[in-house]
């Protein structure tokens, strides 16, 4: 396996990790104003992700950094091309990040309500934008011979991009609800579980729409065949099984399968792309690939050594941090950390 392929896989893994971890983060954010009936409950909801959201977001930063280091031309084309969308994503991430910190520092209800809704809106916006971006990566965008994006923001907001955005937001909300049903207790847990039940069907509908439109908007047939292989099929199967386990109140299983669904869906997107990084709709010859967009072999080698040493260490201590906070959080005002 060449280092170019290795880095394509590594970046895919980073985005998959980000989508799973920040996926339930964003979902929790979108559910916050609806499931939390009073301040203590809302604090409980935030505290389920409190110790983790920042570390989860670093997956995105690392994915961006890895893209820059391993495929600088991809980084340059993608980030300059999707400029307006990424600007909005940045505003959303800024809004979310400060909300978690600012909210608790003043007890006035209006102050707290403002930041709660900021968390909701920024989580929703970020989820949709990420879905739009990856749907368009699978679909292809106008890129010229100099590797520059020639479209606008509206080019990205095509039907397929929008279905990608909505299904991502739905999937994130669903896994957020399942996560909350695992991390809370009492009435709040019941409400989270009821939300998961309600959200499952719309998510299935949107994912089916995404699947069908994928055959029209991407070159999946030419690239993977009519039968797309085990990954997309397993993705759909795990979403259907998620519904089964939600109904049987086996929420641990539901969470695992929903995480698998998100991972497999995103991996399907990367399979459609491979070995291309930016599919050019202007001319297939203008597409960026893992070869013409890559760093030099020396840089890839240096970065591979560093990644192979440090990625396992990072995974170990992040997993440990989830282990430390594995208990359910009680909505008892005396025990809540603000």
């Amino acid at each position: 396996m060449s280092l170019n392929v290795l880095w394509f896989m590594l970046i895919a893994i980073l985005y998959v990790g980000f989508f799973i971890l920040e996926g339930f983060d964003f979902g929790v954010g979108m559910l916050l104003p609806f499931l939390g009936k009073d301040d203590a409950e809302r604090r409980t909801i935030i505290n389920t992700i409190g110790p983790h959201w920042d570390g989860n977001e670093v997956w995105l930063i690392t994915a961006g950094g890895a893209t820059f280091a391993a495929f600088p031309n991809w980084y340059a084309t993608l980030f300059s091309g999707f400029y307006p969308a990424l600007f909005l994503l940045l505003l959303a991430l800024i809004g979310r990040g400060v909300s978690f910190e600012f909210r608790s520092k003043d007890a006035r209800p209006l102050w707290r309500t403002f930041w709660d809704w900021t968390i909701f809106a920024s989580s929703l916006l970020a989820s949709i934008l990420l879905g739009v971006a990856f749907a368009n990566l699978a679909k292809g965008v106008p890129v010229d011979a100099q590797m520059n994006y020639t479209g606008t923001l509206w080019t990205l907001l095509n039907p397929y991009g929008l279905i990608g955005g909505l299904s991502t937001a739905a999937g994130f909300t669903l896994i957020g609800a399942i996560f909350l049903s695992l991390k809370t207790s009492g009435e709040l847990m019941d409400r989270a579980h009821a939300a998961a039940r309600k959200l499952w069907l719309p998510t299935v509908v949107l994912i089916l729409a995404l699947l069908v439109t994928t055959y029209f908007y991407t070159d999946i047939v030419a690239h993977l065949g009519i039968d797309p292989g085990v990954v997309p099929i397993a993705s759909l199967a795990s979403l259907l099984l998620t519904g089964y386990f939600i109904n049987r109140k086996m929420n641990g299983w539901a969470f695992g399968l929903m995480a698998a669904h998100i991972a497999l869906t995103l991996i399907s997107c990367f399979l459609i792309m491979f070995p291309r990084l930016m599919i050019s709709t202007t001319d297939p010859a203008f597409s960026l690939t893992i070869y013409n967009a890559a760093s030099s072999p020396y840089t890839l080698k240096v970065m591979s050594i560093i990644a192979l040493i440090f990625v396992p260490i990072v995974l170990a201590y992040q997993a440990w941090s989830y282990w430390v906070f594995r208990k359910r959080i009680l909505s008892d005002p005396k025990s809540l950390t603000y």
């Binding site: 604090r43 409190g50 110790p51 920042d54 570390g55 977001e57 670093v58 930063i61 690392t62 961006g64 950094g65 890895a66 893209t67 820059f68 280091a69 600088p72 031309n73 980084y75 340059a76 084309t77 980030f79 300059s80 091309g81 400029y83 307006p84 990424l86 600007f87 505003l91 800024i94 990040g97 400060v98 978690f100 910190e101 600012f102 608790s104 520092k105 007890a107 209800p109 590797m147 520059n148 994006y149 760093s295 030099s296 020396y298 840089t299 970065m303 560093i306 440090f310 990625v311 990072v314 201590y317 992040q318 941090s321 430390v324 906070f325 005002p333 005396k334 809540l336 950390t337 603000y338």
Partner: protein
């Protein structure tokens, strides 16, 4: 041309804003480390209170540093695609390593520190804040390794129309990176020290929680004095390095237009509206030579001659930075630095005599002096980055050639205004919260952290 100017303005705005929070994060982290370590070693609950109070202020500030930092990483690609393509092979590596080595460490262990007071042993808990502080400092190191490449490119060859890495060791051990790291880390500690001094002085003046703020003041006076001395020594090293490696930046910092031997030091230079030409100046003979060579003679090249030699080396063009910014940036930084040296020494005097308390004369000065590190940090970076112009990578790539070709002025103007508005609002909220938390003091911070009764009105 317009996208370049707007993108530069946006980068300046977002960087200056980001670096408003970073030095305090860098410095205050080590204060919390020291306080909590004392608590764990001696079992003294007073130090736990200290660690929690300063930790709370640290957190408010940290969040701002994180969210404004993501903007920085994205912008290299969003606005500077030409730059990203040219240097990505060598510049992307330290950015990715920073995320992998530093950001994960900081964010994961900070989460553990905030929420883990009850769920882990004391020893483990203090270890988490150590790792946060190490992570912040590592982050500074790697981003400065990246920045040092822009100031002083090493370890590369020009190949395939771009700079490609050939020597990772040379990139990491770029002397410029380590000079900047020393300067930045000690500036961070200075910022933390003056932050703690200022807030402690505020409370000492009101004679509130005197026993709480006395040790805070003393610790900050000791750390601050050591740090500011190191900042000044390191800054002097930077100056000597500049004269050898970026002579135009050195000359523009001194507004030295003509080459002189012995060189005179400008007390006050007035330039014309272009910001690049001298109209009138007051100078002290020989002092600039003294600063650079430690003797009363020595040749210092001036801006006009350097413009000639840069043209010979890099082709026709204007190689003079905006002297009005580099000259005043340098002076503001140095003035703030020496003012801090005097104040830290003054505070240390009372610590040595064991007379820290409300009776210290001019204690209010320390409240005002909280602005000094921010002035010095900002103006120092203005000098560093504007003094590098017109290059984005010194000697290799000009800023004009680095901008993303697909950007329209409208797009950049939209994002520039968007960032300006959001950042202004956030600055308001952040300063409000910092001031509120700082003024409330430790007991206020403790009351705030237990929520108001659910049914009752918010306190």
């Amino acid at each position: 041309m317009l996208p370049v100017i707007l993108s530069r303005l946006q980068f300046a705005l977002t960087t200056v804003y980001h670096f408003f929070f970073v030095p305090l994060t860098l410095g205050l982290a080590w204060f919390v480390v020291i306080l909590e370590t004392i608590y764990v070693r001696r079992g003294n609950e007073a130090y736990k209170r200290l660690a929690k109070f300063w930790g709370k202020l640290f957190l408010i500030n940290f969040a701002m540093g994180v969210v404004t930092g993501i903007v920085m990483e994205f912008q290299f690609g969003m606005n500077w695609a030409g730059y990203a393509r040219f240097v990505g092979d060598i510049f992307g590596a330290p950015l990715a390593i920073e995320a992998l080595l530093a950001f994960f460490l900081e964010s994961t262990f900070l989460g553990l520190w905030i929420f883990g007071w009850e769920s882990m042993s004391r020893g483990l808990h203090v270890a988490t804040i150590w790792l946060v502080a190490v992570g912040s400092s590592l982050s500074a190191l790697w981003i400065l390794i990246a920045n040092a490449f822009m100031q002083h490119p090493v370890g590369y060859v020009l190949n395939n129309g771009r700079a490609e890495m050939v020597d990772f060791g040379a990139l990491v051990f770029n002397p410029k990176a380590w000079i900047m790291f020393e300067h930045t880390l000690t500036s961070g500690l200075t910022t933390g020290a003056f932050f703690v001094l200022g807030i402690s002085a505020y409370h000492l003046l009101r004679r509130k929680e005197v026993d709480f703020f006395k040790p805070s003041f003393s610790l900050a006076a000791i750390v601050g004095t050591i740090a500011v001395v190191l900042v000044i020594l390191g800054g002097h090293e930077q100056g000597l390095w500049l004269l050898q490696n970026q002579p135009m930046k050195a000359a523009s910092a001194e507004a030295l237009y003509q080459t002189e031997d012995p060189a005179s030091f400008s007390l006050l230079t007035i330039g014309d509206l272009s910001g690049k030409r001298e109209v009138w100046s007051v100078r002290i003979p020989r002092v600039l030579s003294l600063l650079y060579f430690n003797q009363l003679n020595g040749k210092v090249p001036g801006i006009n001659d350097l413009q000639q030699s840069y043209q010979a080396e890099y082709g026709p063009g204007d190689y003079i930075p905006l002297v009005v910014f580099t000259y005043w940036g340098f002076r503001l930084m140095v003035a703030a630095g020496f003012a801090m040296l005097a104040l830290a020494g003054y505070a240390l005097y009372f610590v040595m005599r064991n007379r820290v308390g409300p009776q210290i004369r001019w204690l209010g000065l320390f409240v005002l002096a909280m602005a000094l590190p921010y002035i010095a940090n900002t103006s120092g970076w203005v000098l560093t980055e504007l003094g590098r112009q017109p290059f984005i990578v010194y000697g290799l790539l000009k800023t004009d050639a680095a901008v993303s070709p697909n950007l329209t002025p409208g797009m950049v103007l939209f994002s520039l205004i968007g960032f300006a508005l959001v950042y202004t609002a956030l600055m308001g909220a952040d300063v409000y919260l910092l001031a509120k938390t700082a003024k409330a003091g430790p007991s206020g911070a403790e009351a705030e952290s237990s929520p108001s009764p659910i049914s009752g009105p918010a306190a």
